[in-house]
């Protein structure tokens, strides 16, 4: 890319960064060639690691200043699941969505309202929440997905704010005070696996059962997203992301597939919101600020938009780093912002991009291209050049 050649003063940083990122690229290529049993072993190890993560010995290093298991649920676990959902929209279909938090909020409010008013249990509600949030994805998408690039981004940003403001100003759902005493999920079993850990008993004090719930959801959603990616749907999304017009003239019903991406992303966001609300007991509109949309988007882009392991890594880092460096107080946010800016200069394709995304990036297409269709200037060029 031409801009990278002209930036001066960050040469050494770039060289250092290359030292860090080259192993990532090599790992990706190794992974691409790895036989099935290696992959399954790695999957197994990752799941075991995720299950063992909320232990005090790990926590002593990972977050010396706050409760590690709590952080594993929120922000880390929630961020990871949200990022996987947003990745369907941004990473796979290439639609820039700045209002993703809206679906997280809708899922949370569905849990809160139905849980407190109708007394349904968590498992019934999560199904409804997934349906309602994907429906809201379609409602948002149907009029707006005719827009492209930054125009779509602006409209989705507005949608995120509308949902929060409506919650804020609707007394029936608590207005700015939100909703209290949201029920926990029903206990599935009071089995005690190791002393002091009942992973299927959902109480007030122990965050670990909720964390395990998130891990289980993550595994399900990853399998689902992965299968989609490898299917005809995934190929259509890749084509839309790389060149929407070209996709249309290949016979891909682009509008329908974009709507599907929105609906699926929204469903995942909604499911996350349900778990979040069930754990938190009370939710308020300010749990769902714009900055959360931006943070999740940052996680997706930082990790490597379109590549699931990258996105998960990105979400983990974005959730974890500010907690790890709590000792620096507010400077950590400054540092964090600085690191993100630096990353976008030296490694704009993200830490762990897929090969396909790297190639798109070099061409300036995909989400990086933001192929906004600007009607008026184009028309001027068409007419006024004669």
């Amino acid at each position: 890319m031409s801009h990278s050649k002209n930036t001066t003063g960050i040469g050494p940083v770039r060289a250092a960064m290359r030292k860090i990122t080259t192993p990532f690229d090599e790992m990706r290529d190794w992974w691409g060639r790895a036989p099935g049993w290696v992959r399954w072993t790695v999957y197994g190890l990752v799941i075991v690691a995720a299950l063992l993560a909320p232990s005090d010995s790990v926590g002593a290093f990972m977050s010396p200043e706050s409760d590690w298991a709590t952080i594993l649920f929120y922000p880390i676990g929630v961020f990871v699941l949200l990022a996987i959902g947003l990745n369907v929209v941004v990473g796979q279909a290439g639609l820039l969505d700045l209002g993703f938090v809206a679906f997280f909020a809708i899922g949370g409010y569905v849990m809160a309202v139905i849980g407190t008013e109708l007394g349904w249990n968590f498992w019934e509600i999560i199904v409804v929440a997934v349906l309602i949030s994907s429906l809201s994805g379609i409602i948002l998408g149907a009029p707006t997905l005719r827009l492209r690039g930054d125009y779509l981004a602006i409209v989705t940003l507005g949608f995120g704010e509308i949902v929060r403001l409506v919650a804020q100003n609707t007394d029936a759902i608590g207005g700015p005070r939100g909703i209290n005493s949201i029920p926990h999920p029903p206990d599935m079993s009071d089995i005690e696996i190791i002393p002091d850990l009942q992973p299927f008993t959902y109480g007030v004090i122990d965050p670990r059962p909720y964390y395990y719930l998130l891990v289980a959801l993550c595994v399900l959603v990853i399998i689902f997203a992965r299968r989609l990616e490898k299917s005809r749907v995934g190929r259509a999304w890749a084509a839309i992301r790389e060149d929407e017009d070209a996709a249309e003239i290949m016979g891909v019903p682009t509008f329908r597939f974009k709507l599907l991406a929105f609906a699926i992303g929204a469903a995942i966001g909604g499911a996350t919101g349900t778990v979040f609300a069930a754990k938190m007991i009370s939710i308020v509109p300010n749990n769902f600020p714009f900055i959360l949309s931006a943070t999740i988007l940052a996680a997706v882009v930082l990790g490597g938009s379109g590549n699931l392991p990258g996105v998960i890594l990105g979400a983990f880092l974005v959730g974890w780093l500010p907690e790890r460096f709590r000792g620096f107080e507010d400077y950590r946010v400054l540092l964090f912002g600085g690191v993100l800016v630096l990353m976008m200069i030296v490694r704009p394709q993200g830490l762990l991009p897929s090969r396909q995304r790297s190639a798109e990036f070099a061409e300036g297409s995909g989400m990086g291209g933001m192929g906004a269709e600007v009607a008026t200037p184009t028309a001027k060029a068409e007419v006024s050049s004669r």
Binding site: P253, T254, R357
Partner: protein, 261 residues
């Protein structure tokens, strides 16, 4: 008539880009649209393939009105397009690009792939390479091959010579001729009027959204006005690549909303 445009108008916002164009393409023909930047050539093609909605007029294909048919359905009816600026999928391999051409139809595509590799041996050598890393000429071949994979009755080509070395332009044009011999109708948009008129049977000259001339290609090659405006005329410059330097060529603002390259 295989393809017919009847008094078609297209707007970008409030501005008219196409002001009542009518044209016809018969089965088996090579028809060319020539004209300067901004004349509405690319918009006309996008209108035919369904990427731009029309504000008035009718588009007929195979005798049926397809004015309101969405683009992805027109592909199935038999309209294939290789977009301007090539528009290949950069993150997919050559083979995956070609397979995208067969996305909408069912059945085995192995035979069609083999045919494409036969037509473009170069693509066969590069079949596992990412399309974004191909040279300009190879990308153009891929864009044409991908469009042919949709099994079109009419192939729309938007500036296939753009940005290519003269030798490659000759090669691309002989491939277009070959495609036509194999039975595909071609509608060709070109700034390189010289080459286009030598290849085409008939041509339309577009200026600011109007058709100002239509005749057989050989007649247009001899037409003094066309020679002056698009073929370098009496300036003593003759040959490929010079068609850009028309008096009203207006430099090279990349026309339309082509993907930035």
């Amino acid at each position: 008539m295989l393809l017919e445009l009847k008094d078609v108008y297209v707007h970008y916002g409030k501005i008219e880009a196409i002001k009542g164009i009518s044209l016809e393409v018969a089965e088996g023909e090579i028809v060319s649209l020539i004209g300067a930047n901004g004349a509405g050539k690319t918009t006309t093609l996008k209108t035919i393939s369904g990427l731009r909605p029309i504000s008035a007029g009718r588009v007929l294909f195979d005798g049926k009105d397809i004015s309101r048919t969405p683009g992805h359905v027109r592909v199935l009816r038999g309209i294939g397009q290789a977009p301007e600026g090539r528009g290949v999928f950069p993150g997919m391999t050559v083979q995956e690009n070609l397979q995208m051409g067969a996305y909408a139809r069912k059945g085995n595509t192995a035979g069609d792939l083999a045919e494409m590799y036969d037509l473009f041996p170069r693509l066969n050598e590069r079949r596992a390479q990412m399309a974004g890393t191909l040279s300009g000429g190879e990308q153009q071949m891929l864009a044409i091959g991908r469009a042919l994979m949709t099994k079109p009755k009419v192939l729309l080509l938007d500036e296939p010579s753009m940005g290519l070395a003269p030798k490659l332009v000759t090669q691309i044009f002989s491939i277009i001729e070959e495609i036509n011999h194999r039975g595909t109708t071609v509608l060709l948009v070109e700034q390189n009027a010289q080459q286009a008129l030598q290849l085409a049977h008939r041509a339309y000259v577009l200026e600011t959204g109007h058709v100002v001339k239509s005749a057989s290609a050989s007649q247009l090659l001899d037409d003094p006005e066309v020679r002056a405006a698009y073929l370098g005329g009496d300036l003593g410059v003759d040959g490929a690549g010079e068609a850009d330097a028309t008096p009203n060529g207006a430099g090279r603002p990349t026309g339309g909303d082509a993907p930035a390259q």
